[in-house]
Structures are given as C-alpha cells and as structure tokens.
C-alpha cells in the first residue's frame, strides 16, 4: 500500500508543480467571481443566480481538470519513458494505476476545496453562505471520481486526444442517460427496450450527482437519494479503475 501511496504522492507533487493546474483554478475562481456581475444583468433572485453559477462553475472546471489531467496521466509516463524504471521496480502494475488515480483524485479534491473556499468567501460577502450547498459540492467530487476513472481507462489503451474525446462523450451521455428510461417506456417490449436498458446500465449515470438545482432553490433532497449516488459513484469508479488495471497488465512498453 505504501508503494501505491508513494506513486499517489508523486502524482500530486507533479500536478502542483505544473502551471496548467493554476491556470484552470484561476479561471474557475474568476468565473465564480464573475457571477456577481452576471447576477446584475439577469432578472430574478440575485442570490440564486450567484449560487447556481458558482456551483456550475465548480462542477465544470472540476470536470475539465479531471479530463485534461486524467487523459495524460498514464500516457505521459509512457511517452516520456518514465514508466520504464517504475514498473521494473517491485511495484505491481495495478499498484501503479491505482497510485496514479489516487494522486489525481487528491489533486482534484484540493482543487475543489480551493474553489469551494473561494465560492463561500463570495457567498459570505453576499450574506448567502448556506450549509445546504455543501452536499451538492460533495456529489461533484463523486462525479469527478467517475470522470477521472473514465479518463484513466480510455488513456490506458488510447492516445490523449482520443481519450479526451471519449471521456467528453461519455460525460455528456452520462448527463443525459436518464432520458433512456423515458425512451424505454415509450417502446414496445423487444430489442429496442433491451438496448435502452443496456446503455442505461453501462453509461455512467452522472445526473445522479447533480442536485445543484435542488440546493439552489432549497428543495429538500432525500438522504437515500444522496446515499445511493455516493454508493453508485464509488462502485462505478472502482469498476473502471479495475478494468484499467486489467488493460494495463497486458500492455507492452516499447
């Protein structure tokens, strides 16, 4: 386990010594801050607009960072040949993948905390720092766990650009996968329904992690629903990381 943690710590160190992360973080904070000005231009409750924009910015930049850093996570190690001296040490390939994943998750979590602090500083200034918003940010972290795992899985057998496209595609499909259930209800029993059912289960149900509208409008969210989303997110991410490990186990490093 210590070897996995060593790889995770090194991955984190690499990210925090990279300027790209600060650039993304800077943009996110800028966008959160700009919600004040946007709220002036819009009709409606100023507080709700700031909250809605802020939460969306946190999610959007979190996902962008996850895709951007995730697809090059393993590819860079192979491309720069740093992996040669890692996997020839007494380190399992699965330990390597898991370490890289945990390192990126740690980076994204720190990123998320910084964005949340910036967001709450703004809310304090506006007098709207509600604790009810925190579960929505917590579920964003779970969304990031899944998106990072997707990026890792695709990048374990593909190039960064293709992996980024695949991950983005899976992310968008995952936001809308609830509509497969609607479609299924309109179809007659048969192959069409089976296909809908299949994709509903295979695609990541990322919409489960989105309770931003509810918390913005102070609509209570059942605890069971949040609990289910947490269990689903952890299980889905774990499965993806497991498949990434399997795919990596057989790989040649030329």
């Amino acid at each position: 386990m210590d070897k996995t943690l060593a790889i995770a710590a090194n991955t984190f160190r690499e990210a925090i010594r990279d300027r790209v992360l600060y650039l993304l973080l800077g943009f996110a904070l800028l966008m959160i801050g700009s919600s004040i000005f946007l709220s002036l231009l819009t009709v409606g409750s100023r507080e709700k607009i700031i909250i809605d924009l802020g939460l969306s910015a946190i999610s959007l930049f979190g996902v962008l960072s996850a895709i951007f850093l995730g697809v090059s996570l393993v590819f860079k190690e192979i491309d720069k040949r740093t992996i040669y001296t890692i996997v020839t040490k007494p380190v399992g390939r699965a330990q390597f993948i898991l370490g890289k994943y945990l390192g990126l998750v740690l980076t994204l979590s720190v990123n998320l905390v910084v964005m949340t602090l910036g967001f709450y500083a703004l809310l304090l200034y506006e007098g709207a720092a509600h604790a009810r918003l925190l579960p929505a940010i917590g579920l964003t972290l779970l969304e990031l766990l899944v998106v990072t795992a997707l990026a890792l899985l695709f990048s374990s057998f593909s190039t960064p650009i293709l992996s980024a496209l695949f991950t983005l595609g899976a992310y968008l499909a995952g936001q809308l996968s609830w509509s497969l259930r609607l479609l299924q209800d309109r179809l007659d029993p048969g192959i069409g329904r089976a296909v809908c059912e299949f994709f509903y289960w295979v695609l990541p149900n990322l919409w489960r992690f989105n309770i931003r509208a509810e918390v913005t409008h102070a609509v209570p969210v059942p605890l069971a629903e949040v609990g289910l989303a947490v269990v689903y997110g952890l299980a889905y991410a774990a499965l993806l990381v497991f498949i990434a490990c399997l795919s990596f186990e057989r790989r040649d490093f030329t």
Binding site: D2, K3, A6, I7, N10, R13, E14, R17, D18, K80, R81, T82, Y84, T85, I86, V87, T88, K89, P90, V91, G92, R250, D252, F253, T254
Partner: protein, 324 residues
C-alpha cells in the same frame, strides 16, 4: 542456478500503419550467472534493447520464457532483487535528485528510517551529493545517467541490467561507470549490459554475447574467445640484414635502423630467433597481436577484421618476401 535465464524468446512488432510485422527477436537464449559481467553486443537493430526490455518485463515475449532468480519476471519478489537503467533515460524532471531517489527507495520498500541514509549514500556513490537538491531538469545528460544508475542500485540488487550505460558520458564519467561496475562484480553482483563501445565491453566483461538478426550469434568467455587466437607476431630486430634473413614471414620492413618482421605461425618464432642468433643480430621485442573484441565482433557480423598494425608512411616500403 542462473540469476537470469532467457530461453528461446521471440518478439515481433507491428510495422508502420499496421502493415505486417517485423520480427525482432528470433529465439534468444541467454544466461547470466551470479557474480559475472555479461556484455550484450550487436549492431543497431540487432535486438539488444528488445532483449533487455523483455528481460526486465517491459515487453512480454511471444514465445520462450524469462526466469529471474528462478521466478517469472511478473513476480515482484524477483524484481526486488533487480536494478534496471534504460537507454537515454528520462526521469521526473520536477523532482530534485534527492526527492527522486527517495521516491524510488520508497517504491523498493526501503523502511523510512533507513531511506534518507541510503539516498545520501547513493548520491555520494555517483558523485552527485553537492547537486542533490537541484531539480533534474537542470541536470546535464551525464548527471541524469548517474542519477539513473543510483536508482538502479538503490535496492542493493543482485542483478543490474544496463542498456547502453556509457552512451552520452564523457571519458571521466565512463571511467567512473566502469569502476562502479567492477566494484559491483567484486561484491558478487551480476551485471548484464548492452553496449556499442567495444573497449568498455572488453575492459569489463567476463562473457560477451553477440546478437545478430535477433539471435545470439556467439556467446562465451571473453578470455577464451580472444586469447587463443593470436592473429600474428611482430618481431623487432637490430643489426640484421633483412635480405639475409631466412624465415617464412608475412611481411618485413625497415623502421629506422631496425627491422620489423611479421610472422603468422608460432613455430616461425623459434626459427626467427635461431636465425637472428646465427646472423649475430639482436631481438629487441616480440609482440603477439591477439584477436581483439572488435575483430571478433566484426567477424561475427560478417565483416573482415581490420588491419591492426600498418607500416607508417614514413617507413620504408615492405621488403619483398623471402621464402625459406
């Protein structure tokens, strides 16, 4: 038991645009015993790097097997006793030398209490202690190679595999690398390395294996491959008239006051000594010119061995052969 045993490995790669496959290894057999230095030689594209990458588990052979300390290479216990330095290595350049080695020590499972001391010891061994806290991106190529050797040795391995370790090093760096390899051998470690630089191989290896077309073309102890093959003898004589010298020889020429005779056979040496005595001359020197590794290497690769000693231009042209 051999430290490393490679039996009949084959490997091919998909060619560009997936058009067909290129067979790189065609059944390589290689054994490294404890405490020996084995040099893997071969022309570019002979399969040296592919063989080494397969030996350390970066590539999986299509056929054949690799056993490291009697275990498959996928076994982490086997890898715990091995150190590897790839060709032209690249490491995490955002780390300092010390952070880098500490990370690798952690990967090798070295206890936290021993880690700092071990890292300091390795830095001193490769002569980087005063640059230990500089980031690797500011290291020269030679310094990267040294820190690379340090990571390969950090777990005190019993087998060290080095791919072209001397490339990119200046003469001092090469000398230091050689000294470290010789020290490893003295401590009973096995070393397998590939090289283009035959002088290094000749100075370091107990055995060499020459790869050609994805197969081991020749393998054996360096002393037995080279020593019993004297290519010719060269005798320097004085106070002798070359025309009156009645010895079968390959070449004879004058160098200043002295006469140089090149002989092909060992028996001719005795005849020459008797002749010099008879003519009242003096034998100044008698040098056996052995087969060098370069001759052996080029011979295995199908080239003719180069002329080792040529009569310098300033000397008089060879005297016509006299047959005795």
């Amino acid at each position: 038991m051999a430290v490393l045993e490679i039996s009949g490995i084959t490997k091919s790669f998909t060619s560009h645009l997936s058009m067909g496959r290129t067979q790189v290894l065609r059944g390589v057999d290689l054994k490294v015993e404890a405490g020996e230095v084995l040099g893997l030689l071969g022309a570019n594209g002979a399969g040296k790097t592919t063989t080494l990458k397969t030996a350390v588990g970066l590539l999986r052979p299509e056929q054949g097997s690799v056993r490291l300390f009697g275990m498959p290479i996928t076994d982490v216990r086997a890898r715990a006793r091995m150190g590897f330095l790839p060709e032209n290595p690249y490491f995490y350049d955002y780390l300092s030398g010390r952070e880098f080695l500490d990370f690798y020590a952690r990967l090798c499972g070295i206890a936290p209490s021993r880690r700092a001391a071990r890292v300091a010891e390795m830095l001193a061994r490769v002569g980087l202690e005063d640059r230990a806290d500089r980031p690797l991106r500011k290291f020269s190529k030679g310094m990267v190679q040294r820190v690379g050797l340090a990571q390969a040795l950090i777990n005190e391995p019993d087998l060290i595999i080095l791919d072209e370790p001397m490339s990119g090093l200046d003469p001092i760096g090469r000398r230091e690398f050689r000294d470290i390899i010789l020290e490893l051998r003295r401590n009973g470690k096995a070393v397998l390395f590939s090289s283009h630089i035959l002088a290094d191989a000749e100075a370091l290896c107990d055995r060499v294996a020459i790869l050609r077309g994805g197969k081991v073309a020749a393998c054996g102890r360096l002393d037995s491959m080279l020593s019993d093959r004297v290519r010719f003898w060269e005798a320097t004589l004085s106070r002798v008239d070359p025309a009156s010298l009645n010895v079968p020889h390959e070449k004879i020429w004058q160098r200043g006051e002295q006469v140089v005779v090149r002989l092909q056979e060992a028996e001719q040496v005795d005849t020459l000594i008797e002749e010099v005595r008879r003519l009242g001359g003096t034998l100044r020197s008698l040098v056996p010119h052995r087969r060098t590794l370069e001759d052996l290497f080029l011979g295995e690769l199908g080239y003719e061995a180069p002329e080792e000693t040529k009569a310098p231009a300033a000397e008089k042209p060879p005297i016509p052969k006299s047959r005795g």
